[in-house]
Symmetry: C3
């Protein structure tokens, strides 16, 4: 299908700058753009490609000022990244949806499946499970006893959901992720062995949550591990028992959250961040990649980095001098010599 | 079912403090306790809730001294956490156990399954496998050729156990964990390519080991990667080829152990710790989260942190001054000025 | 089977030093060598065992000079590690290969399978998939629509390959690995929610790539995430959308690579390394374990460590003084006292 800049601008509620009749039939990255394709500029690191791209149309934000002429037609919108997402969604919507219960799926008799559910090959659905309408479950997924999955949620291949867990609506859970495995709880005994603490709680995932591949979310010892509305978790993240993650918080890959940590809403954490157990993180906190958070952060919107972590501005200053330590040491030695000479005066 | 404080104290060999006839029919967390429930106090960070909880009964350690009056009935025991675990176990025991070989499980003819084995839907059990009595294997598990699994072990959905590996009795292995994948061994060739070193060893997991979700344990190049009796591994841990982990060692999530590392018994490691290959860690060593261990630790019971790691006391001192580096630098500059003035005298 | 030193030296194109008629029928590690076995010396940390091992034959590099007499027969070769690999391969080749399509595997009608493909129990192969000759796919693997897998590749149990991805020939992919999950892309909206950016690209894995267990490789937003020829990835690695990893680069476990990072060829990265997004790493760069790489590295062959990372030599110097900071501080205080006394003169 071919679309003109004029038609696309209409759909996106944007403004055309350049030839409104130029058409595209595919998408491309701005740095690799080809004639007949549409690209977008969201990350300003790529601004220089605006002037060299071969893409026929580029989506950009309204406020961007051009430094020189461009060859392409621009469509200016409020949020180029979001507008681009809308176009991709449109493209995706043309795919025939997966439907039906595959004959190799095993569904216990007491389970209830809503309208238009897709259940792929070799899935297992346990006792008393309730899966609501339009849910799509790809092959080889395990849904334990008493699990509830609300409507429109997509579960990719090989996800394992233990008994009693609850998944909201419009969620996306990627392949290999494990939800509801036992929390890591052992009571030390006098003979150096450990006694396992049974983990009798569950995991609750609210609506509009997306979880990446091979992430693990442990069930609570008592009560629930809770992932609030709109949270986005990347791949290979560890969420321990009784953790709570607030609304719309976004967490990058390999981050590990220890038991009973309470995280506020609208936080952003880089990859490989670690949290000690039983601490609280305020709303809107930003944490740099690889930080080690060893105590509660009470100030909303604080930005911390480092291991152990502290605020970004101070960390940067300290790190500059960390790099200069050999130099600093030489200076101290030279000053010491001066002092000794002065004392000998 | 309802239990009185008197009955529970009898079962737990504890002492009642307060009304012995008060009853509970459920459990709760001490900070969220409700009337008619039993809670426990193990982590002293939560001591303040002892005086405010609505829980009817609280398990606490014998030695804890009250600072003021409590509303609840106390049951004092030697180890509140362990006592609580015993109660949860009692509760768990009432669940009907999973049993039987599901008709969609694929079992090769030469495999031998003991009495009362549970083998879930779509499992695969290879040639010459031996699975002993009371073992429970959830759906979608892969058990490679010649694997042996000793009695009472529980394997959760989607675990993959490669050929020739050996699992002890009373183990628990959580969903998505991989045991026996090839060690990461490649010989550099002159043309910049690598030649794969076939990994012909196996993994041996001894008795009473618990392994979290999506953890990976590589098979040995030659011989065995060994996880000793009573070891507890959290989620998403990497154990490389030919590693040996000593009895009752406990390791938190995301820790990575390089090839041929030998770890002593009764160690405790935080999350995201890394070890270089071919080193030895003494018994009882404690390692802080995110530490990078770059050489052997020979002193039993040593406590190290940092990357590269050294002992905790020294690290803390150094880190205090790391944070003060800008201040220290200012002081040095001011002293330098003083010296120059003095020299000019 | 028994082999003499003479025969093995012939096969390996090596030179015998000692009794050429001694025979072995098994392999062992040099530090645990037993009579009748063959060991090898590749890591020089183990050189001392050369003089004490009970192994009958030891493979060593031509250039190694003996410091004293050895009991074993030596076979000297150009590359002992590679020679040892060749022997293991020989041993492996005697195993009967897995073949055939298991009757529980689900293969969509439009999929095409080449000659001698092995497809294990409960695998799923989607629409328009093409799997070439000699490919081995173990049980419980998911191969999404339109995937292509080139000849001789081995896919271990439970791997999940999303639609449209492309896998080269002679690759090995270990259990639980996920290829083609959605990149982590969300556009912030004004109401604090996020809009998902559909990820319409794919993953391309070229020939001779090996990928460990439970690793995740996200599909590109547009275009492809690319793993070039000969790359070796360890377990639990995260490769984000639109990343490109150059030929023969080797990466250890738990490393996380953020979106759109371009990595050169013949690099070597330790475990738990992290990269921020949209940076470029030159050819032959070496990065120490746990490093945090926050900007592009343009110098080929550079060696960096630390978080944030800089060059190894400088890091080592800085870290020495980091450990000495309390001492340095004491010295500064004492100097300050001296200066004040001098000023008072």
């Amino acid at each position: 299908m071919e679309y003109s800049a004029k038609v696309l601008a209409g759909f996106l509620n944007g403004e055309v700058e350049g030839n409104p009749d130029v058409t595209v039939n595919n998408i491309s990255k701005i740095e690799e753009g080809e004639k007949g394709t549409l690209a977008f500029l969201a990350n300003l690191k790529y601004t220089r490609y605006l002037y060299t791209t071969e893409a026929s149309i580029v989506l950009i934000n309204k406020e961007i000022k051009l430094e020189k002429e461009v060859k392409c037609t621009l469509i200016r919108v409020d949020n180029a990244y979001e507008a681009f997402a809308s176009l991709l969604e449109l493209q995706n919507r043309n795919k025939p949806p997966k439907v039906g219960i595959h004959n190799t799926a095993v569904v216990e008799q007491s389970a209830k499946l809503g309208k238009n559910v897709y259940l792929g090959a070799n899935c297992y659905v346990g006792e008393n499970v309730r899966i609501d309408e339009q849910v799509k479950i790809y092959p080889q997924v395990y849904v334990g006893d008493n699990v509830r999955i609300d409507k429109n949620t997509i579960i990719y291949p090989g996800v394992k959901i233990y008994h009693n867990c609850v998944i909201g609506k419009d969620c996306v859970i990627h392949a290999g992720t494990v939800i509801g495995s036992d929390g890591f709880g052992f009571a030390p005994k006098s003979d150096k062995n450990y006694k396992k603490i049974p983990q009798v709680g569950n995991v609750i995932i609210e609506d509009h949550v997306e979880i990446g591949a091979n992430t693990t979310i442990d069930r609570a010892t008592i009560g629930s591990t809770i992932i609030r509305k709109g949270v986005k978790l990347d791949n290979l993240i560890q969420v321990a028992h009784n953790v709570e993650i607030g609304e719309n918080t976004v967490i990058a890959a390999h981050t590990g959250i220890s038991g009973s940590v309470k995280i506020g809403k609208e936080c952003m954490f880089g990859g490989q961040v670690g949290f000690v157990g039983h601490i609280t993180i305020a709303d809107g906190v930003k944490i740099g990649a690889q930080a080690g958070v060893s105590k509660s952060i009470k100030e909303p919107g604080m930005v911390v980095v480092g291991s152990p972590s502290f605020n970004l501005t101070d960390f940067k200053k300290s790190h500059i001098f960390f790099r200069k330590l050999p130099e600093l040491n030489a200076k101290i030695n030279s000053m010491e010599k001066d002092i000794n000479e002065l004392k000998g005066k």
